[in-house]
């Protein structure tokens, strides 16, 4: 599992946010387009791509994309 691919997979969940705005230190919940629906898309993507089911607490605990990546990696 690579951080670069993870960032790309996260970026793919957004429609209006340019992929260049999504980096390892991006606080994703502060992006304008972030919504409760995109949160569900992220859980779905992680489940499909990495076979890891993120819980609500995991999503609440992560601030940056790298932090979320580490949580997923820890569950592999």
């Amino acid at each position: 599992m690579e951080l670069k691919d993870f960032i790309e997979n996260i970026a793919a969940q957004f429609n209006d946010t340019d992929a260049s705005e999504i980096k390892e230190d991006t606080v994703f919940k502060e992006l304008d387009e972030w919504s409760s629906l995109i949160a569900l898309s992220v859980i779905a993507m992680v489940d499909e791509e990495y076979d890891v089911t993120l819980q609500g607490d995991d999503m609440r605990a992560a601030n940056t994309i790298e932090e979320l990546y580490q949580i997923v990696k820890g569950k592999l």
Binding site: N15, S36, L37, L40, D47, T53, L54, G56
Partner: protein, 346 residues
């Protein structure tokens, strides 16, 4: 988790009642969180039926009268009613007792309420079929409906109102078999909860004070949902439950005609469909028209999506309800010579 089998009971018919009033999501979504088109794309819900004029039992009552007529069942022949809802008419007495009188059923009537939500139709089917199989009762109606008038919440966009009826009949035949897988995880009890108004937190004036919950203003008599937790639960537990039941039966997805899933939202249901390896044509949806109707969603989907396709031929199904509790139930059953009433619109 428990696997159960019940023999000698068949489903004779289905009916459903909904309010006539349609609320379109394009017109009604007003959220700072997301816009209407994003909501429709991700949830699949285009419109719902809601009305201030009906309770869940009103909708069930209308559906029951229609189904009894279509089946040609005399009211006196119905010996039991099971009412599954989380929005009963009163905190007490049980709504099923009121329905016995309103439906004009005999006083020699077994009546009980079952308080479960999205898993409730499967649990109700298990309870009703068990009573029929073991107690000499011939006919019973399983009524399941949701109309959230008590916890009304204008910005709660997922839920629609519906009342459904499933008619059950004792046959004594081994070929009429249902198999169930039922489970519970109470550690998630607060993933979907109305905090006040029960005995744990009795209703007070403060119960109606608005407070911020995940960026929305609501009071403590309204239902609050931890969406991410319900989502994670649904995409992990549900496929496992369905696969476990298929393994118990020694079958794979292709061996069943239909998988009728609780209508949660498109993202959840499509993930479940892919994980159990079912084809799109095996998985009917009603949520685009009716939203999430809790324990009514499985029979409502059969009435609105399978009418005209299944009545006259042997048909095999897996149905799965999952959600509030947290609670889930999966059932495998077959129908033949099935009666499906036209949708009753009130």
């Amino acid at each position: 988790m428990s696997l159960l089998a019940i023999k000698g009971v068949r489903i004779a018919g289905f009916s459903a009642g909904v309010p006539k009033q349609i609320v379109s999501k394009i017109d009604s979504i007003n959220s700072s969180d997301y816009d209407a088109s994003e909501f429709i794309e991700k949830t699949g819900i285009k419109e719902v039926r809601v009305s201030d004029d009906f309770t869940a039992s009103d909708l069930c009552l209308a559906a029951a009268e229609k189904l009894l007529q279509d089946l040609g069942w005399e009211k006196d022949s119905v010996e039991g009613i099971f009412f599954v809802s989380q929005h009963p008419d009163y905190i007490l007495p049980a709504t099923s007792c009121i329905l016995q009188e309103r439906m004009g059923l005999s006083k020699e009537c077994y009546a009980m309420d079952i308080s479960l939500g999205c898993s409730g139709w499967v649990y109700g089917l298990n309870a009703a079929a068990s009573v029929l199989a073991g107690h000499g009762m011939k006919r019973a109606l399983l009524l399941g409906g949701d109309a959230r008038k008590r916890a009304k919440c204008d910005f709660d966009p997922l839920f629609g109102f519906a009342g459904t009826v499933t008619a059950l009949e004792y046959t004594g035949l081994d070929e009429d078999e249902m198999r169930f897988h039922l489970g519970t995880d109470g550690s998630g009890y607060d993933a979907l909860i109305i905090p006040d108004g029960g005995s744990r937190n009795p209703a007070t004036v403060d119960s109606f004070k608005m407070e911020e919950v995940d960026g929305k203003m609501m009071h403590r008599m309204q239902a609050r949902i931890k969406g991410m937790d319900v989502f994670s639960f649904s995409i992990s537990i549900v496929p496992k439950s369905i696969k476990k039941l298929m393994a118990e039966e020694g079958k794979s997805a292709a061996d069943y005609d239909y998988f009728v899933l609780h209508q949660a939202n498109t993202m959840i249901n499509e993930m479940i469909r892919k994980k159990i390896k079912a084809m799109p044509e095996q998985v009917p949806y009603s949520l685009h028209e009716f939203g999430n109707t809790s324990m009514a969603s499985i029979p409502l989907t059969i009435v609105t999506q399978l009418k005209g396709k299944v009545e006259s031929k042997p048909t095999s199904y897996i149905a799965c309800g999952f959600g509030v509790g947290l609670s889930w139930g999966t059932v495998s059953f077959r129908t033949n010579r099935l009666v499906i009433s036209d949708l009753v619109e009130l």
